[in-house]
């Protein structure tokens, strides 16, 4: 057999020569290819994470590198978890998170459902709708402060035009009651297309034959929607919520440019609060503990959620 002859020849060839002829072994290639990535991730992600954990037990301050560093044990953690201000920022974050997800899922799904009617030109409109999502949140957020200006701002003018209210009578980012909504509006404007695209993929994954079968069974449209469309797009919808949840929990750039956390601390999301502690008050040790708490929170919530998602997928 030719095969066994090759094998015999291969076995007879000294391994050094074989390697020279065949090039590197697969194993060697695998390691050479993966190593730089692992090294870089260790250096820029894991090493700093371990460093953060260590700092979180100290009273280190980055603006006084030569001061003596004291080991404070769990005191930083204790202070953060009992700090009323931090619970207030957590509440602001929760408000932002829940309402942005609510609006984005609602509008995003509705848009996807409409686009799935396959009317002419839907590609063009989809591309236009997607644009805001890809742009720099800081630059766009900064420009929204212009749109939100009382009187001259386009947003205020449009609202006034539609409702008849006085455009100078309200300031979206200056008013304590309106500011939390101002960030919800801009985030929804920016990220609804994200949910829309994922929902669209979900809707398009449903084979026509299922609907046709349902129609043969004379299932009403309403019933088809709730027993076919919704359950079959649910995994996609949940994935979209997961992504938006993680992203908005980390939210910094857009909101810091829009409101800077104000007025007062009504829109001070956790990331903004953390930045203040770490880079304005320079309480590095305290901020490190804060960062670890946030990381554990996201990681924990995301893991639970992914488990739920996998269950839905299995159904």
């Amino acid at each position: 057999m030719a095969n066994s002859m090759i094998e015999r020849a291969a076995a007879a060839t000294p391994s050094v020569t074989a390697r020279r002829i065949r090039g590197l072994s697969d194993r060697a290639i695998a390691w050479i290819f993966v190593a730089p990535t692992i090294f870089l991730l260790l250096a820029v992600n894991i090493f700093p994470l371990i460093w953060t954990i260590r700092l979180s037990f100290t009273n280190f301050r980055a603006n006084r590198p030569n001061a003596e560093v004291e080991w404070v044990g769990l005191r930083n953690y204790q202070r953060i978890l009992t700090d009323a201000d931090i619970w207030a920022t957590m509440q602001a974050t929760a408000h932002f998170l829940l309402w942005t997800i609510f609006f984005q899922v609602l509008i995003g799904f509705a848009l996807a459902w409409l686009i799935n009617r396959k009317f002419r030109g839907n590609d063009l409109w989809t591309t236009i709708i997607v644009l805001p999502m890809m742009l720099s949140p800081a630059v766009v957020g900064n420009f929204w402060t212009f749109l939100y200006q009382p009187q001259i701002g386009l947003f205020n003018y449009t609202v006034a035009f539609l409702t008849g209210a006085d455009p100078t009578s309200f300031s979206m980012i200056g008013d304590v009651a309106l500011a939390p909504w101002s960030i919800v509006i801009v985030d929804t404007w920016m990220w609804t297309p994200f949910v829309m695209l994922i929902c669209l993929a979900g809707l398009r994954s449903i084979p026509d034959s299922i609907y046709e079968a349902a129609e043969c069974d004379r299932a009403s449209n309403w019933r088809q929607f709730w027993t076919i469309t919704i359950p079959m797009t649910l995994p996609f919808l949940m994935l979209a919520v997961l992504f938006r949840g993680i992203e908005n929990f980390k939210m910094f750039d857009l909101v810091v440019q829009l409101t800077g956390g104000g007025p007062g601390s009504t829109t001070e999301l956790t990331s903004i609060n953390l930045k203040r502690e770490a880079f304005e008050k320079w309480r590095t040790g305290y901020a490190s503990a804060y960062a670890i708490i946030l990381f554990v929170t996201v990681f924990g919530l995301a893991s639970i959620y992914v488990k739920a998602l996998n269950k839905v997928k299995e159904r």
Partner: protein, 312 residues
């Protein structure tokens, strides 16, 4: 056949759906149109009430964006007639151009850091993705999850130790430091996306090449890479857009020499607050390339933004 069939959409329904979607699209694009329009307004037009839809376009905003100006007495202005069209725009307001602004520099920083980190993360990402896709790497699933979980940290939390690390290595406010950081952040995205693209290339191509006497490396280079070209290109665009848009690290870790455009554009000020036409001009120049890339990428968009979790 019912009136609202999903598989057989009636023309009337298509019309209604089309009008609703087009309406949403027009509303959602309005802020972007406003940015572009404001860039061509005079400062008086930009803050006019009611907001002006029709105005005489001027390049004042763009001139303000790229230059710094000083006020001069009428005699000096009369003695120095404008040499160029942009001198003329400035002269009309009793100013002369004192020199270039920082915008050009900041924009170039964005280009250098964006392309540098994109090249590195796609290069390293392709190698790692190929290994993950084709070989048995020990702890493969753990490694892939680890790669992804690095994206769960809020950037500010990552910035604390990175700031300290960069300070002791002298990397704060340097191009090299920012390229390294963005590469590390983008690498997780690059590996995930590229693994998906390489998984889709049939193994048979490589096996055929190996039988033809190619080494593994040659097969990778001559067979897999050309097949993955579209995937590599779209991954590169995603990495570039991320680095281009990134703000949190840039604002915390750069201040002077290596500052990119996103932290800079909001600081463009004129007399009495932000110079909106100049800000809008800067935003237009900065956002336009991303809009073009988005249109080019539209087929792979979903895959990129979901880390390859959803493939169409």
């Amino acid at each position: 056949m019912s009136a609202f069939s999903v598989t057989n959409v009636s023309p009337g329904q298509k019309w209604i759906a089309g009008i609703l979607v087009a309406g949403y699209a027009l509303i959602t694009i309005l802020p972007l149109v406003w940015i572009v329009a404001t860039g061509f307004k005079s400062s008086a037009d930009s803050i006019a009430y009611p907001p002006t839809l029709l105005f005489e376009p001027t390049l004042e905003g763009y001139v303000n964006l790229f230059t710094t100006q000083t006020r001069q007495s009428p005699e000096v202005l009369a003695a120095n007639p404008p040499q160029t069209w942009y001198d003329g725009i400035v002269h009309e307001r009793g100013l002369v151009i004192a020199g270039p602004s920082r915008f050009g520099e900041r924009f170039m920083n964005s280009v250098i850091i964006g392309f540098g980190s994109t090249f590195l993360s796609v290069f390293l990402g392709t190698l790692a993705a190929y290994a993950f896709s084709r070989f048995k790497v020990p702890l493969k699933d753990d490694l892939l999850f680890f790669v992804l979980s690095t994206r769960m940290m809020p950037p500010i939390a990552v910035a604390i130790p990175v700031f300290l690390m960069f300070r002791s290595l002298g990397l704060n406010d340097t191009h090299a430091g920012m390229i390294l950081l963005y590469t590390a952040v983008n690498l997780s995205l690059a590996v995930w996306l590229l693994k998906g693209f390489i998984d889709e290339i049939p193994l048979e191509y490589e096996e055929a090449a190996l039988i033809d006497g190619y080494t593994r490396l040659q097969a990778f280079y001559k067979v897999v890479l050309p097949q993955a070209a579209t995937g590599i290109a779209s991954t590169a665009i995603f990495c570039l857009i991320f680095a281009w848009n990134e703000y949190a690290f840039a604002v915390l870790l750069t201040s002077g020499t290596a500052q990119t455009a996103p932290p800079f554009i909001p600081t463009i000020i004129g007399v009495g607050g932000q110079d909106w036409p100049a800000v809008a001009a800067g935003a237009t120049i900065f956002l336009l390339p991303v809009m073009v890339f988005t249109i080019l990428l539209r087929k792979h968009l979903l895959r990129g933004i979901t880390f390859g979790a959803v493939r169409k």
